[in-house]
């Protein structure tokens, strides 16, 4: 479920502050993207895809850079991907544009790598693909929770995490430390920090879903 920021604001000032920041961040909401796509499907006006390009070209360029490791190839890839979008946006029903765009961009890059006959001989690429599948699975998870249930069980959920994940989750979400800050404080590498936060968050979600299911049962 895409955020509409309709949750009840917690009285805690720190969280209120965070909320305001998040609202500011949401200058181009995913809802707007979906509306744009709907308009495009109705009118066929390619300038609408141009708006999406302005919003996401840099992001897609970054994704392509990560996999293709070449500026020129990445630039070409971005243009190709958005050219492809002009057709694909009409074909597919898209509910979460950023996730879908990520899949399209990654698949395009893997196709390019495959064309270079490097994909299956390149360990890094294989590893990336595996990570991709994991992140896709994460992106597609159901992230809806009843507010009261969530609030009542979150502390227990955090308590159930292993020590590394617990430390990183608390430092990241409560003390608002950056990845780099957490790495400095804990001695973990940046990748470890990212991994502990991401996996910790996934475990929290799983714990809460399990609790919710047991309560309902």
């Amino acid at each position: 479920m895409e955020s509409r920021f309709v949750c009840i604001l917690h009285s805690n000032t720190l969280e209120s502050k965070l909320m305001m920041r998040l609202i500011r961040l949401k200058k181009d909401s995913s809802g707007d993207d979906v509306s744009l796509i709907r308009s495009y499907r109705d009118t066929g006006d390619k300038e609408i895809v141009g708006i999406l390009f302005e919003r996401y070209a840099t992001t897609v360029f970054g994704v392509c850079m990560k996999y293709l490791k070449n500026e020129d190839d990445s630039k070409d890839a971005v243009l190709q991907i958005f050219e492809k979008l002009m057709v694909d946006l009409k074909k597919y029903e898209i509910s979460r544009f950023s996730s879908w765009l990520h899949s399209v961009a990654k698949n395009y890059c893997f196709m390019q790598l495959r064309n270079r006959e490097a994909l299956f001989t390149h360990d890094a690429a294989l590893k990336e693909q595996q990570e991709f599948m994991e992140s896709e699975a994460l992106a597609n998870q159901d992230d809806s929770y009843p507010e009261e249930f969530y609030l009542g069980n979150l502390e227990n959920a955090i308590g159930s995490l292993n020590t590394d994940q617990k430390i990183c989750i608390e430092l990241f979400y409560l003390r608002e430390e950056s990845y780099q800050g957490i790495a400095s404080l804990t001695g973990f590498s940046l990748n470890q920090v990212k991994s502990f936060i991401q996996n910790g968050k996934r475990n929290l979600r799983n714990y809460l879903l399990k609790m919710k299911h047991e309560t309902a049962g």
Partner: protein, 398 residues
């Protein structure tokens, strides 16, 4: 422990703006903003990958050019197709001028001439118009094609009069290629030996980009609002359109474009620095791009043609030579895209060359089915490259 509300951990936030990602990748985002972004990155594989990739690119200005190219692309595809009727009339008028011009050349080249001649520079191997060996003889264009290094000479006197009679156009400038701005621009003419071939050539509206078929230099037409004419720069065909003045008089060009800035006076010049924006005419920019292309400085050529396309997304010269420059850089996807823009319009001056090169680009990319499709179209259309296309098809099939 403070409770963490739902939106704090699990709520999805929207993807941040481009600037934010670039600053983060560059390590220049303020701490509080950084945390907000990182909270988003945990949930967003798109942005998470993006910042990793952007971190590999030094500086934060690089995507500007990408944005320009993309905007130009969307302008091109979104532009409504206008003036279709006008284009048909233009094509018909071009054909009429070609026929009369070629006839005039035929008439004149069979008689002794004292005109000063020189040899055209040999086109790049990569250029759009590798001249078909058999066809070279068939259309009887002289192997050492002639160039007149003196501007106006080709268009002066009897010839100009002839053109005026043939086209009903009383236009002193119609045949000349704005030589007062580009005295170094080479202009050419060719002699045609067989009258049958003249008709054949005219009927097919052959227009290779190479200077080898220089007769096309004379494909000049003036319509109510515009003139379209061919002129040669460094021996390469370009489309000269004098109705572009509204944008062509001055283009804003970054100082690193390798072109000389034009200043009102020395005081104004002193006020400028190398990095500042220069005003450059379209024709100067085009010539500079062509020279870079011809000198195989493809990267610089691409930069110049991209700049032209950013100002005018359907500029045929920039599309065509930009595509060939990309081809030279082995950026085939980009070359394919630009050539694709040209072949969408059958009346494009570079239509046939673009199509031929499109087929070659497909082959360069190892995309045989697409290449075959294009080559078959070329054969069916019976244009200048039909025989070459046919041979290429045989070569592929073998």
């Amino acid at each position: 422990m403070k409770p963490l509300v739902k939106h704090h951990i699990f709520e999805r936030s929207a993807c941040p703006g481009n600037e934010c990602l670039l600053l983060y990748a560059d390590g220049r985002l303020p701490h509080h903003e950084m945390h907000r972004l990182e909270a988003h990155l945990v949930d967003c594989p798109l942005c998470s990958d993006a910042v990793e990739g952007l971190a590999l690119v030094p500086g934060t200005t690089m995507p500007d050019q990408l944005m320009k190219e993309g905007s130009a692309m969307f302008k091109r595809v979104a532009a409504p197709k206008t003036n279709e009727k006008w284009r048909v009339w233009m094509a018909a008028a071009s054909l009429a001028v070609i026929i009369s011009s070629v006839a005039w050349l035929y008439h004149n080249t069979n008689q002794p001439s004292n005109e000063r001649v020189a040899e055209f520079s040999v086109p790049e191997p990569i250029t759009a118009a590798p001249v078909e060996p058999e066809k070279k003889n068939e259309i009887a264009v002289q192997p050492q094609t002639i160039v007149d290094t003196i501007p106006h000479s080709v268009t002066s006197g009897a010839m100009q009069k002839q053109l005026q009679v043939a086209t009903g156009i009383n236009n002193e400038a119609a045949v000349t290629a704005a030589p007062e701005q580009q005295p170094e621009v080479t202009e050419g003419k060719a002699s045609i030996a067989e009258s049958d071939e003249i008709h054949r050539m005219s009927e097919k509206n052959v227009a290779p980009a190479s200077a080898d078929v220089a007769a096309f230099k004379l494909s000049t037409v003036k319509s109510k609002n515009s003139q379209r004419q061919i002129r040669y720069i460094e021996g390469l065909k370009t489309l000269a359109e004098t109705d572009l003045d509204d944008y062509a008089d001055s283009l804003l060009v970054p100082g690193n474009m390798g072109v000389e800035a034009r200043f009102e006076n020395e005081v104004a010049k002193k006020d400028k620095t190398e990095d500042q924006v220069h005003f450059v005419s379209y024709s100067t920019l085009l010539e500079n791009g062509i020279r870079k292309f011809k000198g195989k400085k493809y990267k610089e050529a691409v930069e110049i043609f991209s700049h032209v396309l950013a100002a005018r997304s359907d500029d045929e010269n920039a599309l065509f030579y930009g595509a060939l420059s990309y081809k030279g850089l082995k950026r085939f996807e980009k070359a394919r895209m630009l050539l694709g823009e040209i072949v969408r319009k059958k009346d494009a001056v570079f239509y046939e060359e673009a199509k031929w090169n499109l087929a070659l680009v497909h082959l360069d990319q190892g995309n045989e089915p697409e290449a075959k499709g294009v080559l078959n179209e070329i054969v069916v259309e019976k244009g200048f490259y039909a025989t070459q296309a046919s041979e290429k098809l045989k070569e592929i099939n073998n």
